[in-house]
Amino acid sequence: MVVESIIKGAYEAFIFRKEKKLLYVLDPRTKFILLTAMIIIIVLINTFIGQLIVLSYILLLGIFGYSPSRLRRGLKTIFTVSLFFFIVLYIMYIWLNYTLTNALMISAFLTLRIINLLILFSIVLSSTSPEDLAQFLVKLHIPYDYAYMIVLAIRFVPTVARDIQLVYDAHRARGSIIDSSLNPIRRLKSLVSLLISSFTVILNRVDSIAEALESRCFGFTNRRTFMNEIRIKKVDVVFITLTIPTLIILYYLITLIKFP
């Protein structure tokens, strides 16, 4: 099933898992500054070659944040999804009366931009633990309840993916012909049954999480403390002083040289 492999791949690309790499040590605020700077550059640069250079810079960053297996599987998914984007964009531009080569160039450029953004987010999100993310959001004066909601949503992606997989299996086992029937109406009908079961399972899961939180006094106090308080370390300062100037230099080089 395509959807399932994409969910698994996205999980591989975006979900935090503890590792000993530089980006895992950095303060989330540092990573946020890096993320913002990179996004600005990706948005500003509007040549294909320029985006390629940014991509190589991001992949260089990836060395500090990706383990080899994750690099392989995560990037594979990102490229698969981007291929889909590319096809959609290409068809759209041809439909908008662009010439074939023009459409190809524009959609290739836009796809590369999407790839850059996806890999960037993947590197930053997969190296930030949900607790750090929550603390970061609290530091931005977002109420803890909402910050925790985001953390929970991220935390439960794999669980829900597994639940949906189990539902899918159970439905196949009782003869819902989801993937092998040729009749599209029958397939749609089985898909509806699959969706209803999935929603039931997910809502049950949400209910039990809410009960678990309440039974453990969630929201008893507004003053939250954290076991590992985030703080700006020397590494962060060094990292920022190294990356931000290189990014600015990179940007000016790309705009000055004027690639076609």
Binding site: S69, V167, A170, S193
Partner: protein, 292 residues
């Protein structure tokens, strides 16, 4: 008992996509028509993985699984599912319709049963499982035990040759458990093959005639219920509780010559053995209580 093979595992190895290593390691296994087989073992030992190989939900990484002569690797799951009824651990994974009746109808229509037969089948399973009064209720308003019955009804409705049960006794009270045991015995008499993954040793002891003990992805014991339950070492290794009566007789054997055969499982069998040893009275049944 007809002895033709319905399920055959030939050196089956299986590993999930993530880097967890092999979950099943070189499993060889044969199930014949009319057998009731229990798969036991600690959590995470691969019981569910094993069961899911039988209806083709999981395909072996290495080796061959044949179900009723069909190789699961090349046959679509929907085709295998027609002959294999599957009862998942969580009933909610399967249910979606407004009423139990619609739930059963959906399954039967899916497998192409003619509408004249559908009503008959529904009436039949409702009778067997004693769920007549639930037929027009919403599956989501039922209690845990009732839900499990409904899911079992779905699996039995299309008259499969093999029935797979994944932890069937969770959420069952004593009465329901007893009913399930009776149903399994009846199915076996009809020549169906029942394969269940379970922790519940009492349930296994009273409903199944063969036990397979899984440990760390391999079969460490495969034999009749009696032999396995009296094998203290295997039970210890698979971290299962030896039921009270076998436990008592294993310990008794150290003190008394029990003679052959001495492997009782149920209370009545134990009573007979004890009577033979203590009283020398050969009468059987209830009326000899005083001699114990």
């Amino acid at each position: 008992m007809v002895s033709d093979i319905v399920v055959e595992f030939k050196d089956v190895w299986f590993k999930y996509n993530d880097a967890r290593g092999y979950v099943l390691k070189g499993i060889n296994f044969i199930a014949r028509r009319g057998e009731a087989i229990a798969i036991v073992g600690v959590n995470g030992v691969g019981k569910t993985t094993f069961i899911k190989h039988i209806n083709g939900l999981l395909k072996p990484s290495k080796g061959v699984v044949k179900v009723l002569g069909m190789n699961t690797k090349v046959t679509p799951t929907s085709k295998i599912a027609r002959h294999v009824g599957f009862v998942p651990q969580n009933p909610y994974h399967i249910l979606f319709a407004e009423t139990v009746r619609q739930e059963l109808e959906f399954t039967l229509k899916n497998f192409g049963f003619p509408s004249s037969l559908i009503d008959e089948r529904i009436r039949f399973v409702a009778e067997v499982l004693n769920i007549k009064e639930l037929l027009d209720k919403s599956p989501f308003s039922l209690s845990g035990g009732e839900l499990r019955k409904v899911v079992l009804a779905i699996a039995l409705s299309y008259d499969p040759d093999i029935i797979l049960l994944d932890e069937p006794t969770i959420g069952y009270d004593r009465r329901n458990k007893y009913q399930l045991i009776e149903i399994i015995k009846k199915l076996v008499q009809e020549g169906k093959t029942v394969i269940a993954a379970s922790h519940d040793v009492d349930f296994v002891a009273s409903a199944f005639n063969r036990i397979i003990v899984l440990s760390n992805g391999t079969i460490i014991a495969n034999g009749t219920t009696r032999d396995i339950l009296y094998d203290y070492k295997v039970m210890e290794m698979s971290n299962l509780l030896v039921p009270p009566i076998p436990n008592l007789f294993i310990k008794l054997e150290k003190y008394i010559e029990l003679g052959n055969p001495y492997k009782p499982i149920s209370v009545y069998e134990a009573l007979d053995v004890l009577k033979r040893i203590l009283g020398g009275n050969n009468g059987s049944g209830e009326h000899n209580k005083r001699s114990i």
